[in-house]
Structure formats: C-alpha cells, structure tokens
Symmetry: none
Subunit: 194 residues, 2 copies
Amino acid sequence: MEGKQTKGRQKIAIKRIENEDDRLVTFSKRRSGIYKKASELVTLCGAEVAVLVFSPAGKPFSFGHPSLESLANRLLGQNLAPNDSTHPLVEAHRKVRIIELNQKHSELLGQMEAERDRGKALKEGTGEKSSQGWWEAPIDELSLQELKQMNAMLEEFHKHLYENKNQLRRNGGASSSSFHAHSGHATNIPFCQL
Amino acid sequence: MEGKQTKGRQKIAIKRIENEDDRLVTFSKRRSGIYKKASELVTLCGAEVAVLVFSPAGKPFSFGHPSLESLANRLLGQNLAPNDSTHPLVEAHRKVRIIELNQKHSELLGQMEAERDRGKALKEGTGEKSSQGWWEAPIDELSLQELKQMNAMLEEFHKHLYENKNQLRRNGGASSSSFHAHSGHATNIPFCQL
DNA sequence: AAAACTATATATAAGAC
DNA sequence: TGTCTTATATATAGTTT
C-alpha cells in the first residue's frame, strides 16, 4: 500500500559530505567496505595489500595482509636484534637519507615560497591539471625494495604517531594545527582495525 | 528471443582463482575498484588514504595520499635532531612497540587472511567525480608547511624510483613479468602537479 | 553509535572486440 | 591488456530499532 518502506540507496555526488554525522557514518561504512574489498583481492588473487587510513580527525586505521606491520617488522625486526636495537648500517643510511631530504626540502621551500607569493598556485588551480594521478605511472615501476622502504616508513610513522600524539605537540604550532581540530585524545588508537 | 546475451555477472566464491588469466584480469579490475573506493573515501570524508598492493608476481602498485609522505617526513625530520638521530628512549620504546605489534599481528592473522587491492580511481573517465581532485579537500586543510614537506618527500621518493628502476630489479624475476605490458618509458614523470 | 533493513546505485564476471 | 556490453552480485544511502 504505502509506496516503499525506505527510499533505498540514493545517489550521492562524490564531494565532501557536509553533514558531520553522515560523514562519519559514511567514513565508517566505506572504510569497512574497502577493507573487505582488499581482503577479497588478497584471497582471490594471492596479492598482498596494505591500506592506511586517517580519519578526518587524524586517527589512524589500517589493514594489511602480511600486513603493514608485518613487512615493516621484518625489515626493522632484523636490525632489532636481541641486544642492539638499531643496526648501525641501517641507522647510518637513514641518517644520510634524512640529511638529503632536508636539503631537498630546503630547496623546495624556496621554490614554493615564491610560488605562493606569485599566487597560491595549488589552492585555486583545482580542476583539470590532475588528468592523471601523479602516483599512477611512477608507482607502477617501483621496485619491491622501494616499497619496503616506504613500508618501513609507514611503520615508523605509525609508531611515532602514538608516541608523540599526546606529548610533543609544541612543534611550532603551524605544523600541528592543520587537521584534527578537536582534541585528539586518541589514547587508545585502534591500530589495525578490521 | 535467445534467452540472454550474456550470463551477466556470476557469483564467485572468495577463494583463490585458479585460472591464471582470470586471476590476472580480476586482479586488475579489482585493484582499480579499490583505488576508486579509496579516492571516494578521501573526497567524501576528507580522510587520508594510502593503499599499497603487491601483485601475486610481486609487482608493487599503490595509491597514495599526501599525508602519508607528509607526516612521515615531519616525523623523521624531528628525531632528526642536529647531532643525534636516535634517541635511546625512543628506540627502546620502539622495540617494545614492535614486539607488541608482532603479537597483535599474529592474532589478527588468524582472523583475517586476506587483503589485496587494485587501483586507479580518478584517472579521467566519468568526468564529474574528478571535477575536484581527491587531494583537493585534504590539501585545503594542510598548512603550507605540510605541503612543502610533502613535496620534498615525494621528490625523494620519485628520485629513488629512477635511480633504482633499472638496477635492482632482480627481485625474483617474477616481479617484472606481470603487468605494465607497454614499455614503461616513464622517463619524464609528472612529479607533483600543483 | 552500532545493527538491521530496504531499495537502489555500483562494481564486476563473462564475453566480445 | 584495454575497452565495452550485459546481467547480476554487492555495496551502501537513508531510515528505523
């Protein structure tokens, strides 16, 4: 008699969901959906997948088959010998890497500063310049080696997130103010939520 | 009059696809699907997502969100004190953390047993969803500072890509055979188009 | 804030090109 | 491997419990 019980699934535009409640629910539902898809891919094709998600509030969630942690662990775990936590070679390499990064960073800083002054390029450009995701092409060519490094970084990243979240946050203000507006209590972070 | 033109989508069990061709096709299709989902999550909820996938052959693919690199960089940059790269306490704490992670991991392994992926979402098709790059939203919230770091990170990342691309690739042989059928020329990679 | 529940929008298995 | 099509399996928006 009455038309329908519910409106059923409605079409929505792929743009930020303004209503906070809806956004949160959607975030939760879709995150689960992605995990499911990921796990199916693993099972169906024997692939390995890791998914890292940060809620808009800044909380980390992740899913991974051998798992993000697994791979990172294997890597870090090695140097993680019984007595000596950091393998000298690894540390050394890392140090160098960081120094390089900093240099690179400085250079870019200058360029971007100029860029910004000339008219905040990134903000308004918006549309079409993104015809092809920047990660597409290059990533395809990544070596396993690279990926491992990236994984290790993620691991590190996560770890530090926990350690630092509540403590060091006086990093100059600027850097930390961006996201997670509301007090990130985040004392017990769901590490790998399935 | 003939019944149907095709059988349409058929139900399949979530278990390894034995036929290699089918498996590869499925891997490709689903990977794309996951990337799309990931990008939608980013756009809809302002989340940050990174997906890392290894094809059964060992070839890496990924879909990434800026914050990954951005945050990682900020972190690494920190402990990157002028003189001492690894603070003993931090190291110690890390060790414990990893052990915990491993345990956690073992537990989870039992529950999940699969995850994998596939990619490429916004690319080009479907016009409308790409009206706004997935990174737009989150980027808006990023401080210039963040952006700069992110760029540095990406730069570094890409650079290594090039350097290693032709060299270390003997990772088991299998890795190179799978995808990227067409010669990955990829000489001029679109770095980070802002 | 989680489950359940529709009704519908999407993703995709099969094929064909 | 990419692309397209078709018929169907799934994911999920909106609502309710």
